[in-house]
């Protein structure tokens, strides 16, 4: 295979990587928000459920989460193609980190300011909108960026579970064109690096725009 063809093949595979990453960013953030809300509401079983879920899943290797999704869901009646399975596994895993980040963001708001807001007569949703969200949103940008970059790198695990994303295709290319092994590896690593550095820069930009002078 000509090297230019290899470049195109790997580049195309990165589209799958990016798609998986972007989709998971959306779904994991949504699930993470739900988990955070559950862990904050004063309903004890809800808090405990969220806490157990988060503690168990974040301490499980992502590999095992993948195995459980791929082997477990069909037994409960959900059979899906490889890509949705990977998306689900990544979502369930990443959401725990998102939830922890969001929760610490909410709890980082000074208790005195919350009391002052309540003492003024603000309702709960006014408290949330005027005090908690603005402050929490600003403090969570760097850790959330880290979470999403980790997610990008974690998509590589989907290669072991049938998804033709960048890492899986790279292995295929190396096996088919062993003379180009070094170039293929450098190319793949280079694109991952570019993507993760790009996400980091984007995060820095956003953080600088919303920075708080405390």
């Amino acid at each position: 295979m000509a090297f230019s063809a290899i470049i195109l093949t790997i580049g195309a595979a990165f589209l799958t990587t990016v798609a998986l990453t972007v989709l998971t960013i959306v779904s994991a953030t949504l699930l993470g928000v739900l988990l955070t809300i559950a862990s904050i509401l004063p309903v004890s079983p809800l808090q405990k459920t969220a806490a157990v879920y988060i503690q168990v899943v974040r301490n499980t290797p992502l590999t095992i989460v993948f195995f459980l999704v791929v082997f477990g869901l069909p037994q409960v009646g959900f059979v899906l193609p490889f890509f949705p399975f990977a998306w689900l596994a990544l979502t369930l895993y990443t959401a725990t980190f998102v939830a922890e980040t969001l929760r610490s963001g909410v709890l980082s708001v000074a208790v005195g300011e919350v009391e002052a807001a309540r003492a003024l007569g603000l309702s709960w949703h006014q408290l949330l909108a005027s005090l908690i969200l603005p402050q929490a949103a600003r403090s969570i940008v760097p850790p959330m960026t880290s979470n999403y970059i980790a997610l990008l790198k974690n998509t590589s695990i989907a290669s072991a579970f049938g998804v033709l994303e960048a890492t899986g295709v790279m292995v295929e290319m190396v096996n088919q064109n062993s003379s180009y092994v070094i170039q293929i590896m450098i190319l793949t690593a280079g694109i991952y690096l570019a993507l993760s550095l790009g996400m980091g820069l984007l995060g820095d930009l956003i953080e600088r725009k919303v920075r708080l002078t405390r």
Binding site: S44, P45, V56, I64, F67, L68, G72, V106, L107
Partner: protein, 271 residues
């Protein structure tokens, strides 16, 4: 802010709402649980022969136990090597030599920016093809983990050194120590103590990443699980049991981190 500071203590209507929400949620959990149990039972997944081997089959337990030992071994070795390398890298960067800082900075950026699995695959595929050498799966996993975690720990140590009061370095230099001696005897030991929780968290990450070893043929716990599940025909049960083991190990490591932090504060206050 402590969690309960977010809400007023509930009045009668609030208590009623909480009670209703509690009821609804518990009901939901029971319904979902019942559904899952029903479906699993319909497919025979609750059959004892799928679960009993984990209690009765000694061969299986030994088999998986070997895998666990491999997991812990590779993880510990990788942790120790990464700590050493990470500290050396951080010291190198803190010396203030422009070219050295650049090289180390590049190393850190590269290995934090690419997936650990890629490291493993590079070594697994690349070493035989390019260097024409045999490399054991164990070595592949340990080196791959080392490359990634040395970069992460170098960053952790950099943050730790930067968090120390500026006076530490000034005082040490004023006493006549060189930059290197300052790092070695004054800054790094303090930074390590400061960063112990972060370092222990990194150990948990290493343990989780070791599971990737199954992809490159490393016979750690996940690979053994895959093997056993194939032979015994109970993949779901096997992965659940393995998952529980991983969670238990990681929670134990996390608990140790709390204990160390607890001891530190007591030691610091002279109790």
């Amino acid at each position: 802010m402590k969690q309960n500071a977010l809400f007023d203590s509930p009045g009668p209507r609030g208590l009623r709402l909480i009670r209703i929400a509690t009821l609804i949620w518990v009901l939901c959990l029971l319904l979902i649980g019942a559904y899952v149990v029903w479906r699993l039972d319909a497919r025979g997944q609750l059959a004892p022969q799928k679960w009993l081997p984990f209690v009765t089959n000694i061969k299986l337990l030994k088999f998986l136990g070997d895998g666990l030992l491999q997991t812990l071994s590779a993880s510990l070795v990788a942790l120790v090597l990464s700590l050493l390398a990470g500290v050396v890298l951080a010291m190198g960067r803190a010396l203030g030599l422009a070219w050295l800082s650049l090289v180390i900075g590049a190393y850190v950026q590269v290995f934090r920016g690419i997936p650990v699995l890629l490291n493993m695959l590079f070594l697994f595929l690349g070493v035989p093809l390019v260097l024409h050498l045999n490399i054991s799966a164990y070595t592949v996993v340990v080196i791959a983990l080392l490359l990634y975690n040395s970069a992460v720990i170098a960053e952790i140590m950099r943050a730790g050194i930067a968090a120390l009061p500026a006076g530490q370095r000034s005082a040490s230099l004023a006493l006549g120590f060189s930059e290197f001696q300052t790092l070695r005897h004054v800054l790094v030991p303090q930074a390590i103590r400061l960063m112990i929780p972060a370092l222990i968290s990194q150990f948990i990450i290493i343990i989780k990443d070791s599971a990737l070893g199954f992809i490159v043929g490393f016979h750690e716990m996940t690979a053994k699980a895959q093997n056993a599940a194939l032979q015994l025909g109970n993949p779901l049960q096997t992965y659940i049991v393995i998952g529980v083991v991983y969670v238990a190990i990681n929670l134990a490591v996390a608990r140790m981190s709390h204990w160390i932090a607890h001891r530190k504060t007591h030691a610091a206050s002279g109790h």
